[in-house]
Amino acid sequence: MSTLWQAAGAEWAKLWSVRSTWWCLAAAAGLMVLAAVTLGGATATEALRGEGPAVPVVASEPVVSATSFAQFALVAAAMLAITAEYASGSIRVTLQAVPVRGVMLAAKALVVAPVMAAAGVLSGAVATAAVYLLLSLDAFRGLVVLPIGEVVPDLLGVGGFFAFVSVMTLGVGAAVRSAAGTLTVVFMLLLGLPLMMLMTGSQVALDASLRMPTFAGLAFMGSTDNMTGGPMPYSAGEGLAWLAAWTAAALAAGHAVLRRRDA
């Protein structure tokens, strides 16, 4: 156990000693605010025109929907934790220090998950405040509420979702190794494939696409208004289960490749 703890300490030191981490986290926060404000503004505008329900917007609801876009900045940060080591060859130095592949991967996950969760909660809080401030303007007639009982679970959900997505990315990165390949695979899993499946119009493809990580995450976060046009047809618990299953599958794939292939 202490081997894993030491390895995680090293990964922590590595994560914060490169600028790319800071850039990615800043980009994630920026994207969260931008997407949440846009989505929140759109919902309120629809309500004001009488096209949507004239109920006030919960300030954190557009933030939950914004994760579908902002997640990619955190995907980049998580990805770099492993693909940058393959790109520079320093993965060999890492494996000299921590030769058991599973421990190395677990150590990275142990650092990436809480960091990305914290990034989700913090950037989500900033984005929620931004939505609240924007919709409080006279132009939107204050059509916004900030119920702590809903906002807090939403923000924790965003953090949890980001933790899962970044650990999943880590698994894909360990399996694929190159940054371009990892980004392609993760993008397809998170957006490309589910959107393509939605477009087919087939019920089977629709049901399957709604179980992929992005939509499973929206279900887990209790999203009611998102790019699928409504709440998910299954519970938050099931959403969590699907998210966990995707993450576990990616980690297992990464671990299998790490064990079998030469470094």
Partner: protein, 304 residues
């Protein structure tokens, strides 16, 4: 300390390391020689568990690398000095390594001073020269104060002062009883650094012997004699089984016989000698001879 048994590594249909068996002893610098692509780096990666052997084993102190707890405290290795995140400082790189193996942080400062990099340690690794990267890599290898050290081409990119420093470092590490395994192309450097030599060609072991033995065994290591009776002495030396060439009016070069025997034969025949000395082959020459044989051997095998 390092023990290879029947170690082989195949990439596709290419056998890069072929049935290699070796024992590396503590307290010696073992030079690892071989042309490019001979399998030296692969062998080192196999020892460190980075690559999986196709067959055979590589053990350190009797166990495979991945079973060593806090391995940096047992084995320090520098494989590729450029294998660094270009955006991370050398200091941060070493701090992360130290943490991973429970090494106190003051060691980072110590090894940076040892390699003379204390001033540049805060610079991003991407901005370091190759020589500085080598020093950083050596610092990383020394970090855990390990009993076994492996260096792949450590003097690449170093200036003459740096080369001399590395030579002294290797000697002193072995002097402290550590096992030092160092690969190099630079024969003259190995001749000054190594106690023991291991050479491979096409993945196969072609030499595993003490440096002194390798030099003495070369056909270019010879006895040089200057005498006014060169012709007469040549006849007697040939009769005694030596190979003799006449290198000048009064000078002979004899191989295959010790210098004492040459002196004794001359004395018995009453031949006056003006000079009697050993001319040692350089490691470069001895190595050249060995690898030429190996190349012929390899070509012969391919044709068969």
């Amino acid at each position: 300390m390092i023990s290879l048994k029947g170690l082989s590594k195949r990439y596709g249909d290419r056998l890069v390391v072929d049935d290699l068996s070796l024992e590396l002893k503590p307290g010696t610098v073992t030079g690892f020689l071989g042309p490019n692509g001979a399998g030296k780096s692969t062998t080192m990666r196999l020892v460190l568990g980075l690559d999986h052997p196709t067959s055979g084993t590589a053990l350190i102190g009797g166990v495979p690398y991945h079973e060593i707890r806090n391995p940096l405290r047992t084995v320090g290795a520098l494989l590729d000095a450029r294998a660094l995140h270009p955006g991370r400082s050398g200091y941060a790189h070493l701090v992360a390594l130290a943490r991973s193996n429970g090494i106190p942080r003051r060691r980072v400062t110590e090894v940076l001073e040892t390699v003379g990099l204390a001033g540049a340690a805060r610079k991003r690794a991407g901005t370091l020269s190759l020589g500085m990267s080598q020093r950083l890599g050596i610092a990383a290898a020394l970090l855990g104060d390990p009993e076994v050290l492996m260096f792949d081409e450590p003097v690449n990119g170093l200036d003459p002062d740096g080369v001399r420093w590395v030579r002294g470092l290797m000697r002193s590490l072995a002097g402290e009883g550590r096992t030092v395994f160092v690969s190099s192309h630079l024969m003259s450097e190995m001749q000054l650094t190594a106690d023991h030599l291991v050479a491979i060609g096409k993945g196969r072991l072609i030499m595993d012997a003490p440096l002194a033995e390798v030099i003495a065994g070369s056909s270019l290591t010879a006895v040089v004699v200057r005498t006014p009776h060169a012709r007469e002495l040549a006849v007697r030396l040939r009769a005694a089984g030596a190979e003799v060439t006449r290198s000048g009016e009064n000078e002979l070069v004899a191989t295959g016989t010790p210098i004492e025997r040459v002196g004794d034969l001359a004395h018995e025949a009453g031949i006056r000698l003006h000079e009697l000395r050993t001319r040692e082959a350089s490691l470069e020459q001895a190595y050249q001879e060995l690898t030429e044989q190996s190349v012929e051997y390899g070509a012969g095998r391919a044709g068969a």
